[in-house]
Symmetry: C2
């Protein structure tokens, strides 16, 4: 019996799902995360090897799938994608290998090949849209230094920046100071300069809920950071939304229960688009992409 494997690999973890020819889930496994780079594809390849190997083993002692669809963070540009594809091909995990991005896998999970608009706001941010004709459009997702506007990383950093401006007299005091310093484990704004140099992207993003909480309580600086974040996301959705379709909000900040879900839903609604509450399961989406590619 042929099986199909999907992989969702990002900075936090790598997950693999095995499904059968009828699309039924047979097994699932998880390993460490790794973002693909052109210079160092090995970490990501190794994580994929372990996750896929474990999932195939669980699905009945298999060693190979018919198709492996690997959705990997960082594989959106040509050079890293080529490097990781070459290395994965050498592992013989499947008769056929397709490398795409984690975002494409998430999108397929949300819209099953149909049109739609996926807004991901977690540590990073990106909007991915697909129209009735299959034309796709990406807005944002340029990484933490150049892009990821409105993301948890962006909001956390803007929160800290407001503290520095308040500390040197450029801005009024803000109620963010207590919660943010405590979350960073430091005692003074001065220490934030050193903290931020060694903090991970996720650690900085973990400050975002505190910023949103201060905005909810009426703090001016926090309110302006959150308003700017939502404005960035609204521009991204409007740009991608020219292709139309329903909108799924996904990622820690905007998934159901997320601290920015209400504000971003409202912004999306103001653009005349409709938010639908689809489940998003990227490794399952990738497995379905693998199955859809059989015999192709």
């Amino acid at each position: 019996m042929s099986v199909f494997v999907g992989v969702d690999g990002g900075g936090t973890r790598t997950r693999a799902v095995v499904i059968d020819a009828e699309g039924r889930e047979l097994a699932r496994a998880e390993d460490e995360g790794a973002v693909v780079t052109a210079h160092r594809p090995d970490d990501a390849v190794e994580a994929v090897r372990r996750a896929v190997g474990a999932a195939l083993e669980k699905s009945g002692g298999r060693r190979q799938a018919e198709v492996l669809w690997a959705g990997l963070a960082g594989a959106g540009t040509a050079a890293p994608r080529a490097a990781v594809t070459r290395a994965l091909r050498g592992l013989d995990l499947a008769e056929r290998l397709i490398v795409g991005t984690d975002v494409e896998a998430a999108f397929y999970s949300a819209f099953a090949g149909g049109p739609g608009l996926l807004v991901i706001v977690g540590t990073g941010s990106i909007v991915w849209a697909r129209n009735e004709d299959g034309a796709e459009r990406r807005v944002g997702g340029w990484g933490r230094t150049l892009g990821d506007e409105g993301s948890g990383y962006w909001i956390g950093l803007e929160g800290l920046r407001r503290l520095t401006r308040s500390a040197d007299g450029r801005a009024e005091p803000t109620t963010m100071e207590g919660p943010l310093l405590q979350a960073c484990g430091i005692h003074a704004v001065d220490e934030a300069v050193g903290w931020v140099e060694t903090a991970t992207k996720s650690q900085i993003a973990s400050l975002a809920p505190h910023v949103v909480a201060c905005a909810d309580e009426g703090d001016d600086a926090a309110t302006s950071v959150v308003a700017e974040a939502v404005e960035h996301l609204e521009v991204m959705v409007r740009t991608a939304g020219e292709v139309g379709g329903d909108v799924v909000l996904w990622g820690g900040l905007v998934a159901p229960g997320g601290p920015l879900r209400g504000r971003v839903s409202e912004a999306v609604g103001s653009l005349g688009l409709r938010v639908v509450a689809e489940e998003v399961d990227p490794p399952l989406g990738a497995a379905r992409l693998a199955r859809a590619a059989r015999g192709g």
Copy 2:
């Protein structure tokens, strides 16, 4: 005969100047740059040792000064300053050692202990002010991740960010694309994501003159980046300028002939402050601080 040594140490280079009791310059030497951190003070200490050693040697084979005033980037906060002071003390370069920042040394060079307002806009940005009573005030200078608003680093990064927004449809095309991609040595905006992760702070700052040139030629995106930069700097000067005094503009972007000098001078003038064209020689300023501290 007693001599006094001043040091100006930053990311690019470490310079030492030896003066005599009458304030006459006897010798000058230069070494590699190093920014002081609490975890690794050694690089900066080694650079100071070599630069001071060479300058003392040149000044007539001396081994020790009466006072050494070391103005070091990164020594503005307590922990790094304590670490580097301890390590420098062990070298016995002077009977008396004072550690301050590169900005304090530059300020003393510009205003000779009097009141004034020093605006530094190079790779980073900071405003340092001192009033008639000697009270000092720092605005900005929180480092590249949290601060340095309006600096070369900030302008370069904003220029690249505009390219990404133009590339994914959020903004109109900009004439910055050609010059910035060429300056980065890359062929497509996609590659900027990888470029920026490995670029140095100075490499990113070196993009700023291209952004200003595009603004001068009327490009909308470049014009808005430059206007935002000047606005940030104006807020910094206004905040520090509450103490009053003349203004010296220093650093690659605003020193005489610098691409932002005209715009920033105008912004400073609009605040009712006067720009004066003092020479700024930070290691000499540090040496004069050393001399001023004799017998103290």
